[in-house]
Every structure is written in structure tokens, then in C-alpha cells.
Amino acid sequence: MSLPTGRAARAGQYLALLAYLVFLAFPFLWLLSTAFKPARELGSLHPTWIPDDPTLDNFRQAFDEQPLLQAAANSLIAAVSAALIAVTIATPMAYVMARHRGRLATAATGWVVVSQAFPFVLVIIPLFLVLKNLHLINSLWGLILVYVVWSLPFALWMLAGYVRAVPTELEEAAAVDGAGRVRTLVSVVAPLLAPGIVATALFAFITAWNEFFFALVLLKTPEKQTLPVVLTHFLGAEGVADLGPLAAAAFLATLPSLVLFAFIQRRITGGMTTGAVRG
């Protein structure tokens, strides 16, 4: 509405939009194209967009070269556990952050904001030392612990927003009806929060599924490593990579988060909109 109208302006806008579409889409299309190309075409000096002779060999080879299934299982365990634990412990705290006022809520909020600025090195070195003493290096449990805490600021922020969207009158009414604190929370607030809790959990899952730095530092042996770490093994030494299997594995690793993201995308962008209205 702030842009000029008129036919020439419209044409310009479509041209600009088209340029954006190309810019956003082409790396992803190239990844797909590479994933389905036979080795012979990848070696050719004149690569094409559409494989002449599309093949699934790269996918087969990817599974042969690296323990992808094991890695996917590790990623799944870490991401599901982290997401479930995170929302379970974050929901009550988010409730307090949204409904309570006082030093506790202020401090929690302050921490959520400040935690955004941590450089992870400063946290990971001591964590590494502590987890090492607890024999939790090269263990998925150690990683899950880190992921839980790492996803908490986001989970708290998102959930506190959802709590604030629940009208307090409902809770007051339940209290007047004689429901105790716990009952009010469980039978009145929790059901209304459920969609928000699910969205938050899915987002925490995606973040953990995609995470690389902590997994790289904490997991040592290939049979314990998560998908993003195992993917880097395809890169080999100094860029001598088997491009086809690399692209195939990379594409597969993206699918779960892409699918889940498509589901919750509206909620997240919606949440951002509400945040913008109030912020």
C-alpha cells in the first residue's frame, strides 16, 4: 500500500518479485537436481539443471557410505526428548512469567533476553568440562540436557505469549466456582494452551534436529553422532566430496523439519504478528 500503483509500477513489482523468487529458490533446486544426478553427469564440465538420466543411486550410496539411519535415530531421540522435557518444564514457568509480577518474573524475562547474546563458546567450554566429569560426553543424554536448556528461552517466550492470550476471567471464574489452583491450571488453562504447547514443542524439535555446534563438540564417535554432524563427514578432506550422495543425504536430513515447519509456520508468524502489535 505504500508502493506506487499504476501499470509500469506493477510490472516493476512483478519483476522484483520474480528476482526474489529466483534468488530464494535456486540453491534449493540445485540441491535437488544434484541429488538425482548420476555420477557421470556430476563429473561433466557442463552441469545441467535437469538430470538427463535421473537416478536414486545417490540415496542408496549415501546410506552405504555413512551411518545415516543410526544418525537419524540419534537426532530423533535427542530432538523428541529435548522438546518434550523443555515444554513440560517451561509451561509452568511461562505461566508465572505471564501472570505473576514481581522480581521472579522480571528476572526470568531478563534472562530470556540476555541469553540471546551468549556466545556459545563461553557456555560450552565449562559445560564440556562438567559433562566430562559426569561421564556425559559422547552421550545423547548430555546433549539432551544441553538442548533442553538451550531451547528454554524460546519456549518460555512463546508459551508466555500463549498464556497471556488466555483471558484471566476464565481462571477467576474457576476459582470462584471453588476449583483449587492445580485444578484451575490443569482443567481450565492447559486445554486452552494445548495448541500453543504443541507448536512450541514442534519448534523445539526442529531447532534440536537442526542443531550442529553442541553436537559437534559433545559427540565423538560416529555411532553416537546426530544427522548434521554425520552430514559433514560426506565433505571429506578439503572439499573432495562425493557430490551426489552428499546432496541426497542433505536433502533427506531437511525433510522432517521442512514438513513440520510447514505445519507450524502460520502459528510462528502469527505469534510474531501478535508480538508486534503489543511490542
Binding site: L21, W30, V112, P119, L122, I125, I206, N210, T269
Partner: protein, 323 residues
């Protein structure tokens, strides 16, 4: 990374509401959290892990910066005062990486903001294909950073990559080895950084645009204000808080970036893309210099605090007239 944007967008939880003065610190809450004990009980399950695994390590990390802690050493760790910081001061490699980190952070954040603003303005129009652009704009957000890095390595590949092939087709030379060229490596990874962070920035700005009052636009148009003028007087003031917040966060996240560049270049060629995080990671986990790496982390925190402070000043200075 994706997760973090939303945080910036939400209202500050726990911010005191305006209204009649409450009798006690907790008097506005419903019965469920009216007393302090209940609040603590609800907070504890999350608070303990936060204290033990986040605040604790942070303080421990700062303490480590003043020790000679190393990995796999039998002799016990000693306090060495500010020796690590003195060494850092004379470590030209560190300051190189620091400069590269700032170049990268601003080099990504500024063009990304302008591009995202353009896209957000377009997506706010009634254009065909808008849905497609919205869907595509989301993809980089959902992708693991490692995959984004791998994908762009395929694009930049000297022989099998689409970039060089396109340049050859256009007759613009034989192409080059973008990620290993001394001059091209940093611009090449900056372009990837811009691409990867477009969705969050675009969505945040779009959210701001959709909340600008239409009436104001129409009134301004009736008064004969041109597009630029309407942008400057109506659109920009409305999205300014969001624009500032997202840019500050982007600067911080980019300064702390790791995975993308680790996968693309591992900091090469010759350290030309060695961001501070990559440097500290190598120092800590390749060479085992925990104390020294922790000192680097402290310096990074200091710089980020300065960035944050600048942002807050900007916000306070410009925020007064808007609300």
C-alpha cells in the same frame, strides 16, 4: 537460529501492566499464582536446569578466562589473572578474526535488512505468486544450517556448480573457485549468510507492515504524498521498532555464527573467513586451550554488550514520539 527470532518479537513477559496500583507484588495474578510459594513451585522445574546448565556455566566460563585451563593435562589448573587477556591483546590472529567477524556481521545484516524490507513490501501488496514467494521465503528458515552450507557448496562448486556454469553460459569467463579464493571467500560466505537469514527478517518486517494503519496511508495518498514520502512518514515510523530489534538481534547472532561458515570454508582460505566463534572453537577443542578460548568468549560478550547498548540507545532516542 530460527527459533530465536520469535523471542525478539514477543512482548516482554512479566512487564508490569499499567493499571490501578496493586496492593502487593503479586496481587494482579489469578488465584493460582497469588502467593509466592506457588509461583516458586511452578518456576522451579525450569529454573533449576537454567541455573545449573546455563547461568552456572556462563559464570564458570568467565572464571575460566582467568585460569590456564587446558584439556588433558595432569597438573592442576592455576589462576593466572589477566594473562590470557594480555596474550589476546597481542594475538594478531584473534584481532584478524575479530575484524572478519564484524565485517561478516554487518556485511550480512545490512544488505539482508534492505533485501528483506523490499521483499516484505512486495509481499504486503496484492500480487499474484505472493503465496509462492511466502512459501519459498520460509524454506531457509526450516533448513539445518549444515544443509544450507552443503547446498551452497554445491552451488559454488568450481566444476559441477550452477554458478560457474551460468557464468560460462553468459560468456563471463571460466568461473572460479569462489570459496577457496582469497578475495572471494568472504563475500561468498556473506551471500550465503544473507540468503539463510532472509526469512526471519522478512517475516518480522512483514508482521510490522501488516500492523501499519491503512487509514494513514490512504489519508497520505489523498493528500498527494508520493510513494517515498508515504514510506518515510507512515510506513517507516510504524515498522521502526521491529526493524531496530530484528537488526540488533541479527547483528548479535551473526557475530556468534558458526555452523554455516564451518561447513562452507572451515574458516579458510588462510583464515579469511575465520569468524571469532570458529577461532575460539579451534582453540578450545582442537588445541585444548580452554582458558584462552574462554577469554575470547569474554571479549565477544563485551563487544555484544556494546552492540546491545547502541541498540538500546537508538531505541530510546527514537522511540519517544512513536507511542
Amino acid at each position: 537460529m530460527a527459533s530465536e527470532v520469535v523471542k525478539g518479537r514477543r512482548p516482554r513477559p512479566g512487564h508490569p501492566r499499567k493499571g490501578p496500583a496493586a496492593t502487593g507484588p503479586t496481587a494482579i495474578g489469578p488465584a493460582a499464582v497469588r502467593d509466592r510459594a506457588a509461583a516458586w513451585f511452578l518456576v522451579l522445574p525450569a529454573l533449576l536446569p537454567i541455573l545449573i546448565l546455563s547461568v552456572g556455566p556462563l559464570l564458570y566460563g568467565i572464571a575460566l578466562a582467568f585460569t590456564d585451563a587446558q584439556s588433558g593435562r595432569t597438573r592442576s589448573t592455576q589462576w593466572i589473572g589477566t594473562l590470557n587477556f594480555q596474550d589476546l591483546w597481542y594475538d594478531t590472529l584473534f584481532w584478524d578474526s575479530f575484524r572478519i567477524g564484524l565485517l561478516w556481521a554487518f556485511g550480512v545484516t545490512v544488505p539482508q535488512f534492505l533485501l528483506a524490507l523490499g521483499l516484505a513490501l512486495l509481499l504486503n501488496q496484492r500480487l499474484r505468486l505472493r503465496w509462492l514467494a511466502r512459501a519459498l521465503a520460509i524454506i531457509p528458515w526450516a533448513m539445518p544450517e549444515v544443509v544450507v552450507g552443503i547446498m551452497w557448496r554445491l552451488v559454488y562448486h568450481p566444476d559441477a556448480g550452477v554458478l560457474n556454469e551460468t557464468l560460462r553460459d553468459l560468456g563471463l569467463g571460466d568461473g572460479r573457485d569462489w570459496l577457496t579464493g582469497l578475495a572471494t571467500a568472504l563475500p561468498a560466505v556473506i551471500l550465503v549468510g544473507i540468503w539463510a537469514g532472509m526469512p526471519q527478517t522478512t517475516v518480522a518486517l512483514l508482521a510490522g507492515l501488516q500492523n501499519t494503519p491503512h487509514e494513514l496511508h490512504e489519508a497520505a495518498a489523498l493528500d498527494g504524498a508520493g510513494a517515498w514520502r508515504r514510506f518515510r512518514t507512515v510506513t517507516w515510523p510504524a515498522i521502526r521498532p521491529i526493524a531496530l530489534a530484528i537488526s540488533a538481534l541479527n547483528l548479535i547472532w551473526n557475530f556468534n555464527a558458526f555452523a554455516l561458515v564451518y561447513v562452507l570454508t572451515s574458516g579458510g582460505p588462510g583464515g579469511r573467513t575465520r569468524l571469532p566463534m570458529l577461532f575460539a572453537y579451534e582453540e578450545a577443542f582442537r588445541y585444548g586451550q580452554f582458558g584462552y578460548a574462554a577469554a575470547m568468549g569474554c571479549v565477544m560478550v563485551a563487544v555484544i554488550s556494546v552492540l546491545l547498548a547502541c541498540f538500546l540507545v537508538g531505541r530510546i532516542r527514537g522511540g519517544g514520539g512513536e507511542r
